[in-house]
Structures are given as C-alpha cells and as structure tokens.
C-alpha cells in the first residue's frame, strides 16, 4: 500500500517535470530542477547577433549618408531602442524572467525620463537667458 503511493508520487513528479520541460519556452529544456529554462537554441543567439550588426550598420548609415533634422533623430532613437531591446530581452535573458523581476528592473529607469524633461526645460531656459543677456560675449 505504502509502496504504491510512493510510486504514484514519483510518477507524478516525472510527469510534472515533463510538463515543465514541454510548457517552457522552445529550448533544450531538461527536466532537471536547475537546468530548465536556461539554454536556448544557438540559432536564436546568432539571429539576434546578426540583427544587432544590421541595426548598428543602420545607425552608422544615418551619419554616413548625412541625414538631418527629425528624420535623423527618429532613426537614431529607433535603432537605439531596437538594439537595447534585443540585448536586454535575449542576451540578458529578460524575456525568460518572471514579471516580478522584469518590472522591478525595467520600470525604475523610466523615472529618468522625468529628470530628462526637467533638465531639458532648464537647459533651454539657460540658453534663452544667455542669448538675451550675454549674446555679445557669447
């Protein structure tokens, strides 16, 4: 009686492990307690790697072909955000972390945007004052 229960429990564990391995993202997940969810197919890394090269070439092209004004700034920001996203999500494995960690790490830096806004206002005001009061001396 006791031995049957034990076997059932072991079976249940094996099934649970197999399910973890299957339900986890596509990767070489092994049913070991500490190995699953850590290895990914090499193809993914190479794809991201190549994409990063392409995106970097794109941002360099912005300068090489001398784009100016809003087109230049939009392209720079777009390439920058795509590169940053790929690095954080895939190379730093953020895509496979639990959301509790993702939010704890990625949300606080957004406060920087507020700081940036404040300092932009301050900077333009200083520029304005200099032009009005010190224009001759520059």
């Amino acid at each position: 009686m006791t031995s049957t229960t034990k076997t059932d429990r072991v079976d249940a564990t094996v099934v649970a492990h197999a399910e973890i391995a299957r339900s986890h993202h596509a990767g070489a997940a092994t049913p070991k307690a500490h190995a699953h969810g850590r290895q990914h197919p090499l193809k993914l890394y190479f794809t991201v790697w190549i994409l990063l090269f392409v995106l970097s070439a794109g941002s360099y092209a912005v300068d090489y072909f001398n784009f100016h004004g809003y087109l230049r700034w939009t392209l720079i920001i777009a390439f920058m955000l795509m590169k940053a996203g790929l690095i954080v999500a895939v190379f730093m494995h953020m895509a496979w972390e639990r959301l509790a960690l993702v939010y704890a790490i990625l949300l606080p830096p957004l406060a920087v945007l507020v700081f940036m806004g404040i300092m932009a206002i301050e900077g333009y005001y200083t520029n304005f004052s200099r032009l009005v009061f010190f224009a001759s001396k520059s």
């Binding site: 059932d8 429990r9 249940a12 564990t13 099934v15 649970a16 492990h17 973890i20 339900s23 986890h24 070489a28 307690a33 500490h34 190995a35 850590r38 290895q39 990914h40 090499l42 890394y45 190479f46 790697w49 990063l52 090269f53 970097s56 941002s59 360099y60 912005v62 300068d63 090489y64 230049r72 720079i76 390439f79 920058m80 940053a84 690095i87 190379f91 730093m92 494995h93 972390e97 639990r98 959301l99 509790a100 960690l101 704890a104 790490i105 606080p108 830096p109 920087v112 700081f115 940036m116 300092m119 932009a120 301050e122 900077g123 333009y124 200083t126 520029n127 200099r130 010190f134 520059s138």
Partner: protein, 240 residues
C-alpha cells in the same frame, strides 16, 4: 496524482503568471524574485543603479549642449579617420561599436555553453570576449590620445563649445573604465571555469553545487550592460 508540489522548482512553475504573478510574488511575504538567485538579483540591482549613473552623465551632457550658445563640435568630423587619403566619417566609433557587439555575441554563447556544462568551450569564449573587450579599450586609448593631441581638453577645444571636452572625457572615460573592469572579471571567472572549479561541487561564493555555472550568466549580465550603455552613448553622444 498528488497536487502537492514535491520540489521547489515545481512550486515555482505552478505559480501564476502575468500581472497576477507579479502581485503573488511581491505579496508572498517571502523573497520576491522566485526564480532568480540572489546573485542574479543583486547584479540586476547594481545594473539599475549603474543605469542611473550613466543617465545622469547623459542628462548633464544634454543640459550643457542645449544651454551653450557656442556651436557644438561635429563628432562626425572629429572622429573621422583617413584611409587612402579619403576621410571616412565616424569610422573609428563604428568599428568600436561592431567590436563591442561581437564581444556581446561571444559572451551570450559562453553563457549557453556554461549551462550545457561544456566548460572548455565556455572558458575559451569568455577569454575571446575579454580579448575583444580589451581591443575596445585599446581603440578608446587611441581615440583619447588623438583628441588630446588635437588640443581637446576638459575645459576647451579648438572645434567649438568648451563643454564638448568635459562631456566626452567623463562619459567615455567612465564607460571605458566599466569595460576594463569587465575584462578583468571575465578573465577571473574564465580561469575558474577552465580549471573546473564549478564542477567540483565545492561550495563557494560563486558556485553552490557541482555544475552551478550561474556566475557565468551573472558576469555576462554585466558585460551585456556595458554594451547596452554603449548603444546609448553611440546614439546620443556620437550620432546626435
């Protein structure tokens, strides 16, 4: 079928996901990061604080650049190099960018091989990452000496606004310092991996059981962060 979770790993995989999971993890009166070890969590916290440091540098650079009435020097021309008598704009910085991305790729592969417990491959890739990182620092040293030779100083330069020099030396200097520290950390961990320290099962700060290669991922997080910071410096300082 027993519904009782038998191992901690089962326990984690049965937790709710999505926003419900965020609330469950943070309100569990236990540790909040259920699947991340303290090593990984603390590296991430350090990286967030480092993000704030570099944000402050870039924001101060933005502030001095928009507030100056003197024309800002053109990075495109300052960082151009001459090949066959032809000036190619910003080429040195482009090479440095590709160099750092290459090192990020080799690092990602090193982490993958470490988790597969192929320690020789992991160690070789880590050393390759360190060598490519050292090459980056070398190019930066070349860039610095070139600019210093041309008369760029933290208090002034012949090209335009005086704030260009102070922003340049502070931002790239701190980044170069981060790369240098990363190279040292990589070499130390690569040596441990090569010797098989993490296969021995000896419990240390870096490894808790035989085959515990998480430290490679943690040092990899730092290395990818250095690349990440460069993405922003490249965009805002060199391209803008």
């Amino acid at each position: 079928m027993s519904s009782e979770p038998t191992t901690t790993s089962d326990h984690f995989s049965q937790r709710p996901s999505g926003l419900l999971g965020v609330m469950a993890d943070w309100s569990s009166d236990q540790r909040s990061f259920k699947t991340a070890s303290w090593r990984k969590a603390m590296m991430w916290v350090f990286l967030v604080s480092d993000t704030f440091i570099f944000s402050c540098f870039l924001i101060s650079y933005m502030t001095v650049r928009v507030s100056t009435t003197v024309e800002w020097p053109h990075p495109s021309e300052i960082f151009a190099l001459e090949f066959d008598g032809r000036k190619i704009p910003l080429i040195l910085i482009a090479i440095m960018t590709f160099d750092l991305i290459t090192s990020s790729g080799t690092m990602a592969l090193a982490v993958n091989y470490a988790y597969a417990r192929k320690r020789r491959a992991a160690a070789i890739l880590m050393v390759a990452t360190a060598v490519i990182g050292a090459a980056f620092v070398g190019m930066q040293a070349f860039e610095w000496s070139k600019l210093i030779h041309e008369g760029v100083r933290p208090w002034g330069n012949p090209f335009g606004a005086a704030q260009f020099g102070s922003s340049f030396f502070m931002i790239t200097g701190f980044h170069g310092f981060h790369v240098s520290m990363g190279v040292i950390a990589l070499l130390i961990i690569a040596r441990n991996v090569w010797r098989g320290d993490y296969d021995s099962g000896r419990r240390t700060t870096y490894s808790h059981r035989a085959g515990d290669y998480e430290i490679v991922e943690v040092v990899g997080l730092y290395w990818h962060f250095v690349d990440l910071v460069w993405v922003f410096i490249f965009a805002f300082f060199y391209l803008w």
